[in-house]
């Protein structure tokens, strides 16, 4: 993995990491590294998740009661802390998704209008 590869990726917009974490967890419980990998892969390696920022975000979500965590063992037999969505988190995801879609559509409309 070269630095060039890293630089070409998109940095996450402020506030979107929480949404992405919640969305990733809808497929089942996952540990931090797994969440980071999943975001990168699902976005076709376009989005850069800075690992250092991921954990404070996980911590924040856990404190708000949207995700819960417990220690478990990963597929390759390593100890890891697994996060899963709570029902409050599921509701929050719904709200955030709608909000984001409206936001993206609005931005999109503006940008397209400018191009005309």
């Amino acid at each position: 993995m070269s630095t060039q590869e890293t630089e070409s990726r998109l940095e996450l917009l402020q506030g979107t990491l929480d949404l992405l974490i919640l969305r990733t967890l809808i497929f089942g419980s996952q540990h931090g590294q797994g969440i980071a990998r999943a975001i990168q892969q699902t976005s076709d390696e376009e989005l850069l998740v800075e690992h250092g920022a991921l954990y404070p975000a996980l911590q924040r979500l856990e404190e708000r009661g949207w995700i819960s965590a417990k220690w478990g063992v990963s597929t390759n037999n390593r100890k890891a802390r697994f996060y899963s969505l709570t029902s409050a988190g599921r509701k929050q995801l719904g709200k955030e998704t709608t909000k984001w879609k409206r936001f993206a559509a609005a931005i999109g409309r503006i940008l397209e209008a400018e191009e005309v």
């Binding site: 993995m1 540990h31 931090g32 590294q33 797994g34 990998r37 800075e50 690992h51 250092g52 920022a53 954990y55 404070p56 911590q59 924040r60 404190e63 990963s74 390759n76 390593r78 100890k79 890891a80 802390r81």
Partner: protein, 885 residues
């Protein structure tokens, strides 16, 4: 929601797990283990930052930080024990002294009086402003009017003084109050043993029942539980003890003597030994009362004013309009502590200033230390410590210092409590209520925290504004302070000087007042005079009084005078009543005399009250009081001839201005015969050294029957032996007479100044402390400036500067600070001195001599304090100084 967050090690473990997982993934892609781990770490970013982020996001962080700061702070304080000791000691002394004064102020001024619903209690004072008389007392019919007016629950007149308690090994003189049976009902206090008087008792004379104080019960009766029902012989009459008051009960009197009352007897004041209860016979000295519940003092006062107006209409002869008779309700607490309020507040202010100056001094020391610790702070900031954290760290250190100081102060206070209380004059009311209770402890805590905040803010503020680069550039050694810090330190020194000057001006003014009072020419000579008191009993039945007539008493007085002259060392003896003892009596011993002048009887309603003393012929000569005209008393001025009087100059000037008072006659309105003026005596300040002599008359002891006798002795007296020898002599005449209260007149004069002396000594002590602290402060700053400029001074010397001019340069800097401080202080002192005008005697609040003297003294101390570092500056060896950098 509020459960403790995950602990930090759990979080670190998760991060470690992440890195392991990531490394494992990279290894799968073909990287070596080492490379994979490095890459995983790099991808993670700043691990420490994530950990700190985790750490600081917690709600439970504040106490954790605090604990960290406290531990670090304690370590730093331990590392510089010298500084810590000085700072803690300064604060300890400041907090200790402030708390000590506060505990007195708290007990006297803030606490409610220890009686039931004390807000409803008042003292009733009758004034006759039309004739310039205040607090003239009340008559029995007036008392009955007030009692039935519906304004009060109860009104209790109080009279009395002392009483002879006989039957023990020695007849004892006991402070005694003659009250009415509803006295204890007014105060709402119950005895600890037995019962109080029945408030409904309407016995016209004495009820022959007494209550005694806890003190007397323990002292004279060994706390005998069977005391109830026993008889006491008081002034030859037998009284039955019906109750013992609790130890913390004291009469709410205006003098220390009243407050130390040991016996309460009740009477209706309407039969012997009281005079006939006429409306204009104001012999009830004072009265206390309880206002009806729910009625405020203001409302009661307006109701009372209406009542007074109605009574003036109803009894126009007794209440002539010119007298402007009025009745005043004074909150009882005010009447007890009113006259010490100003002194106490002055003391609290003074000691608070000392504490403040101490704080400023420590702030200065802390700033000096902060510049030494500048590099430490800069490095910690460079390593990522937040400014906020550094500031709170420094503030924590300061608060630690002040709390340690506060604890030290309380320890000092507890250890010296007994000693401190002994320094307070007995005349201070409610002294027995002073205690270190919760409010006092709370005060100490708050004062410590405030002090810590005061001296901690400046250094903390500066730490928050450090400029990192120059700090870090300096190599290894302690940095010099920033320009801003030096400025702050100078401002602090100026503040210190200003505050010190205020205190010193206050102390100076009090000292000058006291000095002037000591040098007042009192008009009598107190030197080598001793006064010993005795008391002739007043039986309730006049028929049993063996000293009932002037002739009977004259025999006794002659015998006492004759025996007194035989005592060793005695050159002169005289006898007078208590009112004749200069500065040695209370306000109620004065026997205000309603003076009606012959030829001006038409204005009888205007009878002014004048002081009256009763003396034997030897009195004036013994006290060296010069006769201005006429003649003094002689042996034939007895009850076989018409009454004669000697008046003082003040009375002559006021009532016979421009006339010869000799041969003029006066009397009391109730008297049948006239009293003739036979002499005029020079004014003497026998009531108060600080007040001009009031009009007064002297009566011949052989024409009256004074009971409260004082025997005056002049000569080379043995102060220890005289009271014993005199007691033998007096009791060989009448073994039932108590002999007590022996004191030299010098002591009486000095005791009359005790409250003044106390506040002067205290404020003086505080002012000296302040001066010392200010001196230390300026010394610190100038030393610092000198050490900072060593290099520069070296260059100047090397270039040929005169050592003298270097000395002048340094001194000038110190002088500028001192003068600036003194200037600010003078302005503040002007305000303070006007506020304390009521405590001054003889000097004006703006006394140029005091102001100038104090300012000069302060500047002198500043120069001295600067001279030491300045000397160091001129001893600088240019070679060493140049190498210094």
């Amino acid at each position: 929601m509020f459960r403790r967050k995950r602990n930090a090690s759990d979080f670190s473990a998760e991060i470690e797990a992440h890195i392991e997982l990531e490394a494992a993934r990279l290894q799968e892609q073909g990287l070596s283990y080492e490379d994979a781990r490095t890459a995983a770490r790099r991808a993670f970013g700043n691990v420490t930052h994530a950990q700190e982020h985790f750490y600081e996001s917690g709600r439970w962080l504040a106490p954790e930080h605090l604990w960290q700061d406290v531990r670090y702070g304690l370590r730093m304080l331990r590392k510089s024990p010298g500084f810590t000791a000085i700072a803690v000691l300064t604060i300890a002394l400041g907090i200790g002294a402030t708390t000590a004064i506060f505990s007195v102020v708290d007990a006297t001024l803030f606490h409610p009086l220890p009686y039931a619903q004390p807000d409803q209690l008042v003292r009733i004072e009758d004034d006759l402003p039309g004739v310039g008389a205040q607090d003239v007392g009340m008559s029995v019919p007036e008392w009955h009017d007030l009692q039935s007016s519906g304004i009060f629950d109860n009104v209790s007149p109080i009279g009395g003084g002392d009483v002879n308690l006989t039957g023990a090994s020695q007849p004892e003189r006991i402070p005694f109050l003659n009250v009415t049976p509803n006295y204890f009902a007014v105060l709402g206090v119950k005895p600890q043993l037995g019962s109080a008087f029945n408030p409904e008792d309407h016995t016209p004379g004495f009820t022959l029942e007494v209550l005694i104080s806890d003190g007397l019960w323990k002292r004279a009766f060994a706390a005998d539980p069977g005391i109830l029902g026993k008889s006491l012989r008081l002034d030859n009459d037998l009284y039955r003890v019906i109750g013992v008051m609790p130890a913390d009960f004291h009469d709410p009197g205006r003098t220390a003597v009243e407050r130390s009352t040991d016996i309460w007897a009740a009477s209706g004041f309407a039969a012997a030994p009281a005079p006939p209860p006429l409306r204009n016979a104001r012999f009830l000295q004072t009265a206390i009362a309880r206002i009806k519940p729910g009625v405020t003092i203001d409302v009661a006062q307006s109701q009372l004013n209406a009542l007074v107006a109605a009574m003036q209409k109803q009894f126009p002869v007794d209440y002539p309009l010119q007298n402007a008779w009025s009745v005043r309700l004074v909150p009882l607490k005010e009447s007890v502590v009113g006259n010490v309020r100003q002194s106490l507040i002055l003391l609290l202010g003074a000691v608070g200033l000392v504490l403040l100056i101490g704080c400023v001094n420590i702030a200065n020391l802390l700033l000096a230390r902060a510049s030494a610790r500048g590099r430490e702070m800069a490095i910690r900031q460079a390593l990522g410590a937040a400014r906020k954290r550094l500031m709170s760290q420094l503030l924590t250190e300061s608060l630690l210092l002040s709390l340690l100081g506060g604890i030290g102060g309380l320890v000092i206070l507890f250890c010296t409590k007994g000693f401190l209380l002994r320094m307070v004059p007995d005349s201070l009311p409610r002294l027995n209520e002073v205690s270190t209770n919760t409010p006092v402890l709370l005060f100490a805590l708050v004062a410590s925290l405030v002090a810590g905040a005061i001296f901690g803010l400046a250094p903390a503020f500066h730490a928050g504004r450090l400029d990192l680069i120059p700090m870090l550039k300096q190599e290894g050694r302690a940095s010099t302070g920033t320009g801003e810090q030096a400025r702050t330190r100078r401002v602090l020194v100026i503040i210190e000087f200003a505050l010190s000057l205020v205190l010193m001006v206050a102390a100076g003014l009090l000292l000058r007042s006291f000095w002037d009072l000591l040098n007042v020419r009192p008009g009598f000579n107190p030197q080598s005079v001793m006064v010993v008191r005795t008391w002739l009993p007043v039986p309730n039945d006049p028929a049993t009084d063996v000293y009932g007539t002037a002739a009977q008493e004259e025999t006794l007085l002659h015998e006492m005078l004759r025996r007194g002259r035989t005592l060793p060392g005695v050159e002169e003896v005289a006898i007078g009543d208590l009112a004749a003892v200069p500065l040695g009596h209370g306000w109620r011993d004065l026997n205000p005399y309603p003076l009606m002048l012959e030829g001006r009887e038409a204005h009888s309603g205007e009878t002014p009250f004048v002081n009256r003393s009763t003396v034997t012929p030897e009195y004036f000569h013994l006290l060296s009081m010069p006769l201005l005209s006429g003649r003094p008393f002689n042996e034939s001025d007895n009850d076989k001839v018409p009454r004669v009087a000697v008046i003082n100059e003040a009375l002559a000037r006021k009532y016979w201005p421009g006339e010869d008072p000799l041969g003029k006659r006066f009397k009391r309105p109730a008297d049948s015969s006239w009293t003739t003026v036979i002499g005029v005596i020079a004014n003497a300040r026998t009531e108060s050294l600080s007040e001009a002599t009031a009009p007064g008359i002297y009566m011949s002891a052989y024409q009256r029957t004074p009971k409260d006798l004082a025997i005056f002795l002049r000569g080379r007296l043995d102060a220890a032996a005289i009271p014993v020898e005199l007691r033998e002599q007096v009791q060989s005449v009448d073994p039932g007479l108590p002999v007590f209260g022996a004191q030299t007149l010098d002591d009486a004069v000095s005791a009359s100044l005790s409250t003044r002396r106390f506040s002067m000594e205290m404020v003086g002590l505080f002012a000296l402390t302040a001066l010392l602290l200010a001196g230390l402060g300026i010394y610190g700053v100038i030393s610092y400036i000198v050490s900072e400029r060593t290099h520069e001074i070296g260059i100047r010397l090397a270039l040929g500067a005169q050592r003298n001019s270097i000395l002048q340069m340094v001194l000038r800097q110190g002088l500028a600070l001192a003068i600036a401080g003194a200037a600010v202080g003078l302005v503040c002192a002007l305000i303070v001195s006007h506020l304390m005008a009521g405590l001054l005697y003889g000097v004006k609040p703006v006394d140029p001599l005091t102001f100038a003297g104090v300012a000069l003294l302060l500047v002198g101390v500043a120069l001295l304090a600067c001279y030491i570092p300045a000397r160091r500056a001129i001893r600088v060896d240019p070679i060493i100084a140049l190498r210094y950098e």
